[in-house]
Symmetry: C2
Subunit: 228 residues, 2 copies
């Protein structure tokens, strides 16, 4: 008698993980490293991409833009001569507050995977749900702007806990804020002590070089702290 054991897929997140693994396998087959790029609204994701995507030595970059509506970020990046694909989460009222693996899968056919080495997926601006849904990425990068306050790692722990790099943006504003940088870094330590962090400013360019180098390393397969 032939018997096969099948583990039942438990819930929506499990289904999402199944699709995320399929995405990741497709990306790997195409030789494309993938970054899931996340932050609160207005933390500076697009500005930090504008600084580097057109200028990564030896790395061909593509961007998948996730937004509730519109294509403002994609329009900003289009001038940099990198392929940009837009994904909108709003089929009707309100829209989804995050990308999930199936949305990214629906965009696979539109991505020029054979022409790029690195795909940056700019997620919807949100510190909660994007952290819950893997989309097929190799690494997760989050941006936390110093204007958002020191308490964010403790208030949105899953996001900080599951990322492989924290970009601390807008440090040019530090002299004008009541922001305790030491306290903020200590809060990151409380939820994710191993997370590398970089202090930078998309506006002034400070610290951008190390961000460029880190991305180049990811594309080269040197994936620092890549999740299993």
């Amino acid at each position: 008698m032939h018997r096969t054991k099948v583990r039942i897929v438990e819930d929506a997140l499990d289904a999402n993980n199944t699709i995320a693994q399929a995405n990741r396998a497709d990306f790997a087959r195409a030789g494309v490293a993938v970054v899931n790029f996340m932050s609160a609204p207005g933390a500076g994701k697009t500005s930090l991409l504008e600084r580097v995507v057109g200028d990564l030595p030896g790395v061909r970059v593509g961007v998948l833009e996730g937004d509730v509506q519109g294509s403002m970020d994609a329009d900003r990046l289009a001038g940099l001569h990198v392929p940009v694909t837009q994904l909108n989460t709003d089929p009707s009222f309100g829209g989804e507050c995050h990308l999930d693996a199936n949305m990214v899968r629906s965009a696979l056919g539109a991505l020029p995977l054979d022409e790029i080495d690195l795909l940056v997926i700019e997620n919807v601006g949100n510190l909660v749900c994007p952290a819950e849904f893997r989309v097929g990425e190799d690494v997760r990068v989050m941006v936390s702007s110093v204007t958002e306050g020191e308490d964010k790692p403790l208030k949105y722990p899953l996001m900080f806990r599951t990322c492989d790099l924290v970009l601390v943006n807008k440090i040019d504003l530090l002299p004008h804020l009541d922001f305790d940088l030491e306290k903020f870094l200590h809060h990151i330590d409380q939820v994710n002590p191993r997370a590398p962090r970089m202090l930078l400013s998309a506006r002034t360019g400070e610290g951008i070089e190390q961000w460029r180098e880190w991305l180049t390393g990811v594309a080269a397969g040197v994936r620092e702290g890549a999740p299993a």
Copy 2:
């Protein structure tokens, strides 16, 4: 033959609206005006409440704090001698990115409704889903910080469209930002031309007086732009 027509409740949002209406009826019976207070993470909701909740002439304020985890904002407000109730959306992994009507309903018994005139519900920091779920409020107030960029009304239109007041916070930082205030206000006009807006800074206190007066007016039943 007795026949009754019942309209079928269509979806989750419809169910949410039903509960929100029940909440609103309970608040109205208790004589409590309710503000649903929303923004992106770190825009300054709690700081703007710290500035006014202990000092509204003739108005007894209570606060319901919505967070994924922890009670950092509630702890900050507790020193102001107003009743603060904490609601966490995280029963396990990740947590909900917004409050819904049923979560607020579950907190009704913990709210001192007979001791307050105004309840401010500080929602989870997020510009997407909180806008989709009414919780029983009379008015919606959102905070948009000038550090978040001019594009936010176009990227998160439902939030801007459904609010009754936009607080434009952190204007003390304007000299240090590449932020085009006229463009931002024009973007608000594109999605919600009737929304009143106030320019202020929780840090310096600029503009706080009009925010205090507006809240006092809400509590007095003078609900500017109150939704139906």
